[in-house]
Every structure is written in structure tokens, then in C-alpha cells.
Amino acid sequence: MLELQHISKWYNVGGARTFILKDINLHIAEGQFISIMGPSGSGKSTLLNIIGMLDEASEGDYIFMGQNVTQLKEKQRSNLYKKHIGFVFQAYHLIDELTVYENIETPLIYQDIKGSERKAMVADMLDRFQIVGKKDLFPTQLSGGQQQLVGIARALIAKPKLLLADEPTGNLNSKQGEDIMELFKKINEEDGVTIIQVTHSDKNAAYGSHIIHLLDGRIERAYV
């Protein structure tokens, strides 16, 4: 599905290079459920952002579904990821001014999907996540777990092949966290969506098929 070859990321601070990621090589196949672990500042989020095309590597190649992302123009890249990648964040990142329904609908708007079709897709998703009753509420009216549910629904609405999650349960209590992880597992197994999550918790990591440990920008060990 995707492959990272000699990926490095650094910032120039006062003339010296500070490496966030150093020579990362990674191959992820379709249908895998990967957990990235590591202490704060080890480069987990940066790695996830590079995979999600939100950030660019300073060096190295990134091949996503057969295309070398580093060589694509912004528009092509944007087309690629808005079709195939969904994001879930620790802080949910819902738009406060939009209702649950509208938040879930937003990605479809940017894919030029017709109104009637959008309606059906969102209704489907609300149904599946059992949040139909909440569709007209605004994010601030929901609990954290519910907000994250909406965040996941939004990430999945465009039927992506790859779901990226940056500490999706970080702001939730353990019960809510478990529910989300169960959901991830289901998505992975039933829909065949590839999932890469960043997490601190061993328990959450255990839901995945593989674990990658990062330390100081390098892959320390990987259970692939």
C-alpha cells in the first residue's frame, strides 16, 4: 500500500540540523493495522503527518499506492489523499460552527459529490455509528467520546483505503477508548481499511496487527 524509503525530516535551528526523523524505511501492506509507539518527541506525529501528506520529508521517497508522492504537484497530491486517506485526531478537530451532520459531510463537499448522494452517504454513516439522534447538535454539545465518534465518521465518510489516527483515545476515558478501539478493529477487519495509529498505550497498541517503536527519530524495533 505504501512504502517509505530513507525518509528523514529535520529543522535548521541556529545553523545546526535537528533531526525529527532519521532514515526511516517502512513498508505497509493493505489491510494492516499498525500502531506507532514511542516517547514524546520521538517523531511519531511527524511520521504520521508525512504518511498523511500533511507534511513533507526533507529527504527520501514516499510511494503511496504506486505513486511517488514526493514528485507530485500539490493538486495531484491533494486529490490522492482526499480520495484515499482519512484522519482522526486526539483533539477531534471538528469545526465548531458546523453540526454533527455538516461536519461529517464536509469531506464530500470537497470531492464534488452531489447533494442527494451526500445525504445518503451521511445518513448511512450516522446510522452505522448510531448517532442519528445527534446529527443536529454542535460539537460542543457532545461528550469527548461522541466527538471522536463524529471525527471517525468524518474520516470514513469518503471510504478511504487508509485511516490515520493520532492518539485517537488520548482525550478519552478508558471505557470510551475501548469502544473506539473496538470500532477501529471492526473497520479494519470488516471494511479492509488499513489503519495506522499513534498511541502511548500498550493496550491500544495490542488491537493492531503490528507495532512500530520510534526513538529519537529512528525505528527502534518493529513487530511486523
Binding site: 498523511g52 482526499k82 478537530h93 469545526i95 455538516e102 469518503a158
Partner: protein
């Protein structure tokens, strides 16, 4: 997608009510201002275009080339036989209309109620040539009878109330007696953009048969009527100088020769010619005089529009700076939208849509304001404008264009800035809160340059206006009531009225004069030769009491004396300017004769008065003289009353009038107000520029207020840390205010020389003018800084007083 954008825009607006209010309010005021001026400009620039045949209608004018001291002139007052002669001699002329404007109010009697109203006269084909629709009556026959009359809806309401005036009789006092006319048509009210106006319109044929009309009949030397011609489709007559010249030569065969002989005309070609002025340019060509509605220099229209555009620009800048200032609040949304697949251009589009939506909202409120302000604006502009899309269909497109342009100007920079945000940076809180970058600073400075410039200009105009109104004109203009007796048999009435009024102790003196003073009262000026040179002198026909009553200063010779019989025959009293112009001294002037004044009359100077200003202060004092030659008639009675509340005296004067002329209403004015009317245009300008200045400084401060609030918000943490480290409240107020005050000061430094330059040029038009003093600038500068300080200071104070523990904890 559009609905989606509109939804989120509205929710964002609702979320930040304060800023939205500043934005919408500011834009609404700016748009209302601009729309009013736009309406005015559209009205001025579409003058007379509503006539369906406007493209083929021309007004005849006469153009006299400069000769000797005479700078030459163009005017549109034509002799009576001209119209028929044009149609007869020139095949291109399909139709002609001669017209006498309703220049003054006549006494009008309807069922024994007398009031005053203007009457115009025009040839019966008037309604065929011009497009003034009739609500009642047949346009082809309405004016065919010599005693027929068409009145406007408005006049009908005034004279007849709700009754149907058709077929009713209106009596108009023309010359000596009331003449009956029958109402044969009711015209729709004349639009505000028409040069031709009339409250009542009667048949030109009737005019021809009045006493004064009869003197003009077949007379090519009396010119007082406007003549319009309708040319055949495709005619080139208007540009055919040769044919028009040939026509003039036919009716003025010896004109050129006579002027050459007298030595006035030495150049090639004819000295005087006829021309055809396209009807559609009549209103914007200030060179050709004549008509009741003064033409407007298009330059003035553009200046007004620019001022209004400046005010609007200030409102747009508010939008921009505030949108950038609060961009931090939208950063998260931008990040999310980018992550879920939004492209930069889609985000730009979204923010532009928001700007357009806000502009649309502001326009709606602005239009409500326009309707509210229109009556006051009409007062200011001197027009009867109505806001109506059917009257001015152009306004639809202009307003639609305006919304788009304003939306784009106000919204494009924020859209670019906001859409540039990178999601990762936003979430890492790395984003710089750009409340006051170079760009916004420049914009704020520009706002204050405009407002300070307008304020300085207002002060200078006001000072000049005040100077002209209060400067001693060389006579005592206070406490004089001018009674308008035109239209009455004044020769008989004046002595009777004088006798009746003089009984009241508050009446200090009464004098008669042919004309009143002030704008629109007219003047007579005669030209004659003196020692081989052509001279022009203003003449005033007055009676023996005039100079004393007006309080003029006699510096040589004597005043008129009723006991000296020759004073009513050939005595004149002149002013200093005439003494200088004629090469006399004050002493030698007495006894001088004007031998070439006319064939019968050789006036002799008996006195010299100090220079006085009967004309506006924008004009130099020119040679003037007073006399009481026997053909004078006292149309105006000058009554000097005692100081204090004039209401009581006026009632008594009215009684005196009623006792002499019971059938006609008493009409009066105050001399000082008449004279101040000279400065109507200056007063108008000072109001317009003053309002624009006031509104713009208000808008600029509104923006400043918002920016200061945002600056405080963005610097909450910094202020907290500073306070913990021991900064004082004044120190923090200083910290916040300093930045903004610097901008206002820079603006003042830029605005001052610019305003000085333009106002010096404006003042050049006045023969008597003020010097621009540095105090005006200092005053304007201090005002601007003070207003800005109050605006920003309030915000800074709040920030400085806040508890730092709170602001640091929430961070």
C-alpha cells in the same frame, strides 16, 4: 457547497457579534454614503435623457467671441421669432419649441384663494417634442387653446387638493390683471433629472399677445426665451457651422460690419454665431448660461464621488484589518478543511463568499439608511431625488457591481492570508497572530490620512464661509426686511405702504429699490464708453433714502436729496472702484459727467460711497453706481426695523401690506439671509465634506477600536507576564496605545500637506479669502490623536487592569 459556505459564514458572524457589528455597521454606513452620492451622480449624468427623442433635440445658443475687455460668452436666451424662422429656413428642423421658464412666482388665484406659483409658457408642440407624460388630457391638443394650461400633479394637489382640476379655471396675475386659464392637462411630476421644469405650463401664444410679449414679437433684438429644436433623424445641422452662420447673417445682416466699424471686432470670421447644443449635454456644460437648473461641472460630480469612495474605502479597510486580526480564530477551521481535502482555492472562494455575504447584508442595511437619509441629503444636494430602480434602472447594475467590488476589495487579502495557513503549524500553535503587520498598519494609516485630510478641509471651508458671512460688506445688512412687491402695481403701492408702515415705532426707515440683493435676485449692468474706452458698471435703481437706510459710508459729495429735482433725472452716486476705474480721484469725481451713457441721458456724479459688497466675496468689487432715474420702479421695499425679535414687527408690516394690497399675500425675506444665500454652494460643500470627514473618522475609529481589542486579545499572555514582572497600569496602556498613535501621527503628517495643497487651490477662487493658518492643522491633529487615544485607551485600560493570574492560567 454555496449553502454550506453561507451557513458557516452566518454562524461565524453570529459567534463574534461585536466584530460583526463593527464590520456590518461600518460597511453599511460607507455603502449608504456612497449609494447616496451614486444616486446623485447618476441623476446628474442622466439629466434630460429620459426624453425619447433626446438624441435629436437641441437647444439653440448664441456664442459671442471675446471682444476688447469683454471675455465673450454663450447663452441660450433667444429672440421670439427665432423658432419659426428656423423651421421655415432649415429643412432639417422638424419642430421647434420656444419656452419661457417659470423664473419667478406669479400670483395665482383659484376660487378666491391667492397663492404664488411659477408659470412657464411653451409652444403647443411641447408635448410632441419632449416626453412629459400626461396623466389626464391629450398631449396633442392640451396646449392648443391660448388659454389652456397644463399643471403638474404636485401643483394640482397644492391648488385643488383632492378635487379634479380638469376644466377648472386658474387665474394668473400677468402684468396688470388676473387672466383666466382653463386646466386642460395634468402632467406627471417632473423628474429630478430634468432641465425643463414647470409647476404650470401655459400656451406661448398667450405670452406673445401680452404687452411685453407684443414688444418681442417679430423683434430679433429682444432675447429672453429658450428655443429648442427637434432635428430630423440623421441630420448634421448641429455640426454645420456654415449653414447656421448663413442663417444668422440673414436675420442680422449688418452685425459683423457694425462691430468691425466700432473697432470691437478685428479678427477673421463672424463675431457672433448661433449653435445647437445637444439636449443630453445641457446639464454638464457650464459654459452656456440660461435655464432654471444650473448646469453642473462633471468635475464636481467626480470629486463628490471620490470623497464618497474614500469613505467607503475606509469601511472596506475596517473589514480587511479586522478579518486579518481575528484570523487566529479561523485558523483551526482552515486546518481541518485542508486535512479533509479542501484546496487553497476552495478556501479562498469560501472566504470571498463570506465577504460578499457580509457586503450584501451591509448593502441591505445601507439601503435602509439611504431611505432614512434621503430627505436630509436632498436638502444638502438641492435636488428632489427619489430612490427608485424604475427611475434609475442603472442603479441595479451599479449596486450589484458595487457589492462585488466592495466584497472583493474587503475580502481578498484576508482570504489570501487565511487560506495560506498550514494545518500542522496551526495545531502546533506556531502561527503568528498577525494583528498588526506592515500591511494592516499601512491600511490603518491610509484611513486616518483620508479622515484627517477631510477634517482639515472642512475646517478651512468653514473658516472661509464664516469669513464671508461675517465680514463687514460695507453696509449694515442686519435688521432689514425686504418686502417683495413684484407683480403688484408698485408705483402706486409703495408710497401707501410706506405711509402705513412708518406709523409703527419699530420701523426705522423704508426705501424702495428695483432689485433685492443676494443669489438669484439678478442685477443690471450696463456698458457704455468713457473717453474712448468701453466700461461696464453695475447699476442700482433706488430711491433717495436707500444709501442712508443701508448705512453706507459717503466719503465725498452728497446723498440724494428729494428736494433737488435734478436728482431724479441725472444724478448718480458711485463707489470707489468706479472712481479708480474711470481714472478720477475721490475729490475730483464730484461733478464728472458720463456723456456717452445714452443718447438722451448724461448722468453727473454727485457723491462717492466707500466700496461695498452687494456681490459675493468671491468676486472683486467692481464699478457700481446708484441712481433714481425716472424709469425706475420700486419692486422691493427695504424696511429697517429695530433690533430684537422681528416677529411682532413682521405682523405689523403684514397688516400694513394688507391694508394697501388686500388681495395679494405678503412676501418678505431678511436681507442678511438673502446675502448669505450667495454662499449656498460653499455652505453645501462644507456640509458635505464635513459629514464625510465626520463619518470617516468615526469609521476609522470603529476599526481602530476593533484592532485594539484584537491586539489586547492577542497579547493577553504578554501583558500578564509583564504585570507579574512588575509593569504598571500606565506602562501597559502606553505599550498598547503607542503603536496605534504612531500610525495616527504618520497619517497626520501625510494628510496635512495634501489637504493644504488642495485647499489653497480651492481658496484661489475667492477674491477675498482667509489665510490658511497652522492652527487649523494643529487643531485637526490634536483632535485626531485625542479621538484615537480615547478609542484605543479604553481597550488598553481593560487589558492593563485584568488579573494576570487569570490570563496566564487560561493560556
Amino acid at each position: 457547497m454555496l449553502i454550506h459556505y453561507i451557513k458557516i459564514a452566518l454562524r461565524n458572524l453570529a459567534k463574534q457579534k461585536g466584530l460583526t457589528l463593527i464590520n456590518v455597521l461600518g460597511l453599511s454606513i460607507g455603502l449608504a454614503c456612497f449609494t447616496l452620492f451614486l444616486l446623485y451622480s447618476v441623476n446628474e449624468l442622466t439629466f434630460d435623457r429620459f426624453h425619447t427623442k433626446a438624441d435629436n433635440i437641441y437647444r439653440v445658443y448664441r456664442s459671442a467671441a471675446p471682444m476688447g475687455d469683454d471675455p465673450g460668452n454663450m447663452d441660450s436666451y433667444m429672440p421670439m421669432p427665432l423658432g419659426p424662422a428656423l423651421k421655415q429656413d432649415l429643412a432639417d428642423v422638424e419642430e421647434f419649441v420656444r419656452m419661457q421658464d417659470a423664473g419667478w412666482a406669479e400670483f395665482v388665484k383659484v376660487e378666491n384663494n391667492v397663492s404664488r406659483m411659477g408659470v412657464a409658457f411653451a409652444d403647443p408642440q411641447f408635448f410632441k417634442v419632449f416626453s412629459f407624460p400626461l396623466i389626464k388630457g391629450n398631449p396633442n391638443t392640451a396646449l392648443s387653446d391660448p388659454r389652456s394650461m397644463v399643471i403638474t400633479q404636485e401643483s394640482a394637489k397644492k391648488l385643488f387638493g383632492n378635487a379634479d382640476p380638469m376644466g377648472k379655471t386658474i387665474e394668473v396675475k400677468l402684468e396688470e390683471k388676473f387672466e383666466p386659464f382653463i386646466v386642460t392637462g395634468i402632467a406627471k411630476d417632473i423628474p429630478a433629472n430634468s432641465t425643463i421644469t414647470f409647476p404650470m405650463l401655459a400656451n406661448y401664444e398667450f405670452l406673445q399677445n401680452t404687452k411685453s410679449g407684443a414688444r418681442s414679437k417679430d423683434n430679433w433684438r429682444r432675447s429672453s426665451y429658450q428655443t429648442y429644436v427637434l432635428l430630423k433623424e440623421g441630420s448634421r445641422l448641429a455640426n454645420d457651422k456654415a449653414r447656421l452662420q448663413l442663417f444668422r447673417k440673414k436675420y442680422y445682416p449688418d452685425e459683423e460690419e457694425r462691430l468691425r466699424k466700432a473697432g470691437y471686432w478685428t479678427k477673421q470670421g463672424p463675431p457672433v454665431s448661433f449653435g445647437l447644443q445637444p439636449m443630453t449635454t445641457m446639464h454638464t456644460d457650464t459654459r452656456i448660461g440660461g435655464g432654471l437648473v444650473d448646469p453642473v461641472d462633471p468635475k464636481t460630480i467626480w470629486i463628490l464621488l471620490s470623497i464618497a469612495a474614500g469613505v467607503l474605502l475606509i469601511a472596506c479597510i475596517n473589514f480587511t484589518t479586522l478579518a486579518i486580526g481575528r484570523s487566529a480564530g479561523r485558523a483551526k477551521e482552515v486546518g481541518i478543511r485542508k486535512v479533509v481535502g479542501g484546496l487553497k482555492r476552495e478556501l479562498i472562494f469560501q472566504f470571498l463568499m463570506e465577504a460578499l455575504l457580509l457586503t450584501l447584508l451591509s448593502t441591505i442595511i445601507g439601503l435602509l439608511l439611504v431611505n432614512l437619509l434621503l430627505p436630509s441629503f436632498n436638502n444638502l444636494s438641492g435636488r428632489e431625488l427619489k430612490f427608485s430602480f424604475s427611475l434609475y434602472p442603472q442603479m441595479i447594475w451599479l449596486l450589484a457591481g458595487l457589492i462585488i467590488i466592495v466584497g472583493l476589495i474587503a475580502g481578498s487579502y484576508p482570504a489570501l492570508v487565511l487560506s495560506r495557513f498550514n494545518p500542522i503549524e496551526v495545531w502546533r500553535r506556531k502561527l503568528k497572530l498577525s494583528g498588526s503587520n506592515m500591511f494592516t498598519r499601512s491600511l490603518v494609516t491610509l484611513q486616518f490620512v483620508l479622515s484627517v485630510g477631510l477634517i482639515i478641509s472642512t475646517l478651512i471651508i468653514l473658516q472661509q464661509l464664516n469669513f464671508m458671512r461675517s465680514k463687514n460688506p460695507g453696509f449694515n445688512k442686519e435688521n432689514i426686511v425686504v418686502v417683495d412687491a413684484s407683480g403688484t402695481d408698485t408705483d402706486k403701492i409703495f408710497p401707501l405702504f410706506k405711509q402705513a408702515a412708518a406709523k409703527h415705532p419699530e420701523v426705522k426707515g423704508i426705501s424702495g429699490a428695483e432689485i433685492g440683493l443676494g443669489e438669484g435676485t439678478g442685477y443690471s449692468r450696463s456698458g457704455f464708453d468713457y473717453k474712448g474706452k468701453h466700461k461696464e458698471v453695475f447699476e442700482y435703481f433706488v430711491d433717495a433714502d436707500y444709501i442712508g437706510l443701508m448705512g453706507m459710508k459717503l466719503i465725498a459729495g452728497r446723498d440724494f436729496d428729494p428736494r433737488i429735482a435734478s436728482d431724479t433725472v441725472n444724478s448718480v452716486i458711485v463707489n470707489e472702484a468706479m472712481v479708480r476705474d474711470f481714472g478720477w480721484t475721490v475729490e475730483s469725481a464730484i461733478g464728472q459727467q458720463l456723456p456717452e451713457y445714452s443718447d438722451q441721458l448724461k448722468p453727473v456724479v454727485i457723491g462717492v460711497v466707500k466700496d461695498f459688497h452687494f456681490r459675493p466675496f468671491s468676486e472683486k468689487v467692481l464699478p457700481q453706481m446708484f441712481h433714481q432715474f425716472s424709469d425706475y420702479r420700486p419692486f422691493k421695499f427695504f424696511v429697517r426695523i429695530s433690533e430684537g425679535n422681528p416677529a411682532g414687527v413682521l405682523a405689523k408690516l403684514q397688516d400694513s401690506w394688507k391694508s394697501v394690497v388686500p388681495e395679494l399675500p405678503f412676501k418678505f425675506s431678511f436681507l442678511d439671509e438673502d446675502l448669505n444665500r450667495f454662499y449656498r454652494s460653499e455652505a453645501r460643500w462644507s456640509s458635505i465634506v464635513g459629514w464625510a470627514g465626520g463619518i470617516s473618522i468615526f469609521l476609522a475609529c470603529l476599526g481602530l477600536f476593533g484592532l485594539a481589542a484584537l491586539a489586547v486579545l492577542n497579547r493577553t499572555r504578554e501583558i500578564g507576564i509583564r504585570k507579574v514582572l512588575g509593569a504598571s497600569v500606565p506602562g501597559i496602556i502606553n505599550l498598547i496605545s503607542k503603536d496605534f498613535l504612531k500610525l495616527v501621527l504618520i497619517a497626520f503628517i501625510i494628510a496635512s500637506p495634501v489637504a493644504w495643497y488642495f485647499m489653497s487651490r480651492w481658496l484661489e477662487d475667492f477674491a477675498y479669502r482667509i489665510n490658511i493658518t497652522v492652527w487649523i492643522f494643529i487643531f485637526a491633529g490634536i483632535t485626531a490623536v485625542a479621538i484615537a487615544l480615547v478609542t484605543v485607551g479604553a481597550q488598553a485600560m481593560r487589558a492593563a487592569m485584568a488579573n494576570p493570574v487569570k490570563s496566564l492560567r487560561t493560556d
